[in-house]
């Protein structure tokens, strides 16, 4: 992926060229500083390392996400580092028939499937899970009560969202760590920079992960329950025109990733920012009514999805830059969420901010995250419960934050705190 020439022939000194040369798409340290330094002058630049046009301003990111006529989403889950033939052959051999059903497909297919999935994945239905979620969080909290220090990611944030996914799937007896491992692996395979040997190893687990999703659906065919796969099967009612069985398996496989990875990261990001600012944490402790706004500010300030992909279906112009049909585009959600044109004092984390909800952490347009209300609910419950139980919680000093290493997803891999201040 190193042989992309810079189109347009800009002189080396121009800000466009400098932005492209300095863009390090897999590096999370300094990402926000980089975008802050280019956003004013460079609304769009070409990133030669990956071969994508990068869109930096909220207005243009929003317009791109909302224009599904001009931009295709099909690239959204394709490996950013292409998989070698050997890996593809192996997947074929293992009957890995996962297909694009949601985030990476365009209308009319997308419309058909979304209308069905959203009848289960919606704010109304999610709200029925609130008590169960709170109970789950309390179990995790009870486990750490009495300890002096804890890594919040390892102790709670890593597993909790996976347990919530199991609630939706009606699974009661499965190791959340195994799902997390599979998820991490798939994220690295698609959005990371794995070596060929890493890919060859990982692909076995990927196929196992797919088999698990398939077995789960097969089991619900025999014994349906009050869960997502059973719901999809009932809607299908044997009619391929509504939904095929393979589409259902792909939807379940999709939920097994999308349903927890980003929420784990979002929780880590939110609590990291709060812990870094004891005065903001104290506000939450004193005024729990700020929780919902704080959750939005966490999503804005440190989104767990920092960039998303599209392909131009026709010749387009973004912020004056002509982009030919077929070219690939990376919308920098992280940059959009720090755009001063929308957010006053954008580099300040402020739980009382007037309009944090205008962030694009969940995208916009027809692909707006279906799980957004669930993620919000999980983050709200986590923040309410943890701030009530550990009001004096404080960041362990001197820890270096290690980030996930993918182009799209960002979250701390650990977050060590003192529970009693």
């Amino acid at each position: 992926m190193s042989d992309f020439s810079v189109p347009g022939g800009q002189p080396a000194a121009c800000p466009f060229h400098a932005a492209g040369a300095n863009h390090e798409p897999f590096r999370h340290e300094g990402m926000y500083e980089f975008f802050a330094s280019v956003r004013d002058d460079v609304p769009v630049f070409y990133s030669p390392q990956i071969g994508y046009w990068v869109v930096t301003r909220r207005e243009d990111v929003l317009a791109t996400l909302r224009d599904h006529e001009s931009f295709s989403a099909e690239i959204a889950t394709q490996p950013i580092t292409p998989w070698p033939q050997k890996v593809l052959d192996y997947l074929k051999e293992r009957n890995f028939t996962n297909e694009a059903v949601q985030v990476a497909c365009d209308p009319p297919r997308h419309t058909r499937i979304r209308m069905i999935a959203s009848r289960f994945l919606n704010v109304r239905r999610f709200s029925f899970y609130e008590d169960a979620l709170r109970k789950l969080v309390r179990v995790y909290i009870d486990r750490i009560t009495g300890l002096d220090e804890v890594d919040l990611v390892d102790a709670i944030f890593y597993e909790f969202p996976a347990q919530v996914v199991f609630l939706l799937l009606g699974e009661t007896d499965f190791d959340p760590r195994k799902i997390k491992k599979w998820g991490d692996l798939r994220l690295n395979m698609v959005w990371g920079k794995p070596s060929e040997s890493e890919l060859e190893l990982a692909v076995h687990d990927l196929a196992d992960f797919w088999d698990y999703a398939c077995e789960l659906v097969e089991a619900r065919k025999v014994a349906p329950g009050d869960d997502y796969p059973s719901f999809l099967l009932a809607r299908r009612d044997g009619d391929d025109a509504v939904l095929t069985e393979n589409e259902i398996k792909s939807l379940v496989f999709g939920l097994l990733i999308a349903g927890h990875e980003t929420t784990t990261n979002a929780a880590g990001n939110l609590f990291l920012e709060l812990m870094k600012r004891p005065e903001e944490w104290a506000k939450i402790v004193r005024r729990p009514e700020l929780v919902a706004n704080a959750v939005e500010e966490g999503l804005r300030y440190a989104s767990s999805v920092v960039a998303w992909r599209r392909t131009a279906k026709v010749d387009v112009t973004i912020a004056g830059q002509d982009i030919p049909k077929g070219d690939r585009i990376l919308v920098a959600l992280a940059s959009a969420n720090h755009d001063g044109a929308c957010f006053d004092d954008p580099e300040t984390f402020d739980v009382e901010r007037r309009n944090p909800r205008e962030h694009l952490a969940f995208g916009s347009g027809i692909h707006t995250c279906l799980g957004a209300p669930l993620a919000r609910l999980e983050l709200k419950v986590l923040l309410e419960e943890l701030s009530a139980r550990f009001p004096d919680m404080a960041l362990m000093p001197g820890q270096e934050i290690d980030w996930t290493k993918t182009i799209s997803f960002r979250g701390p891999s650990q977050l060590r705190v003192r529970l009693r201040g």
Binding site: S118, V123, T368
Partner: protein, 107 residues
């Protein structure tokens, strides 16, 4: 000019200018009417621009159909007979003075 009368969950109300051809949702957003979230920006994908229209609008336009009707089933506040998604109602001249009620919550 067409003016719409929005009634907010706290009981207060707000008159805003509306342009025929725009949607109720766009009118609310561009005038800063609180309580209309419109997460998906009118793509019929989120049900966060739920409103209650008045009897006059309901009887003249008829009820929601198709995807809008389905989406309303899972709005955050339970649907009522006058429920619509704001993104699907286009402003027309005769709506001048209509009352649009914003539900308690969208999320």
């Amino acid at each position: 000019m067409t003016t719409l009368h929005f009634v907010l969950p706290d009981g207060s109300s707000r008159d805003v200018p509306a342009t025929p051809g725009h949607s109720l949702m766009e009118t609310a957003i561009s005038n800063g009417v609180p309580g209309i979230v419109a997460e998906c920006a009118g793509s019929l994908a989120c049900a966060t621009c739920h409103v209650f229209v008045d009897e006059a609008i309901a009887s003249r336009l008829g009820g929601p159909e198709g995807a809008e009707d389905e989406m309303l089933d899972f709005a955050a506040v339970e649907r009522r007979p006058l429920s619509r998604l704001g993104c699907q109602v286009k402003i027309e001249d005769w709506m001048d003075g209509a009352t649009i009620t914003v539900p308690e919550t969208q999320v």
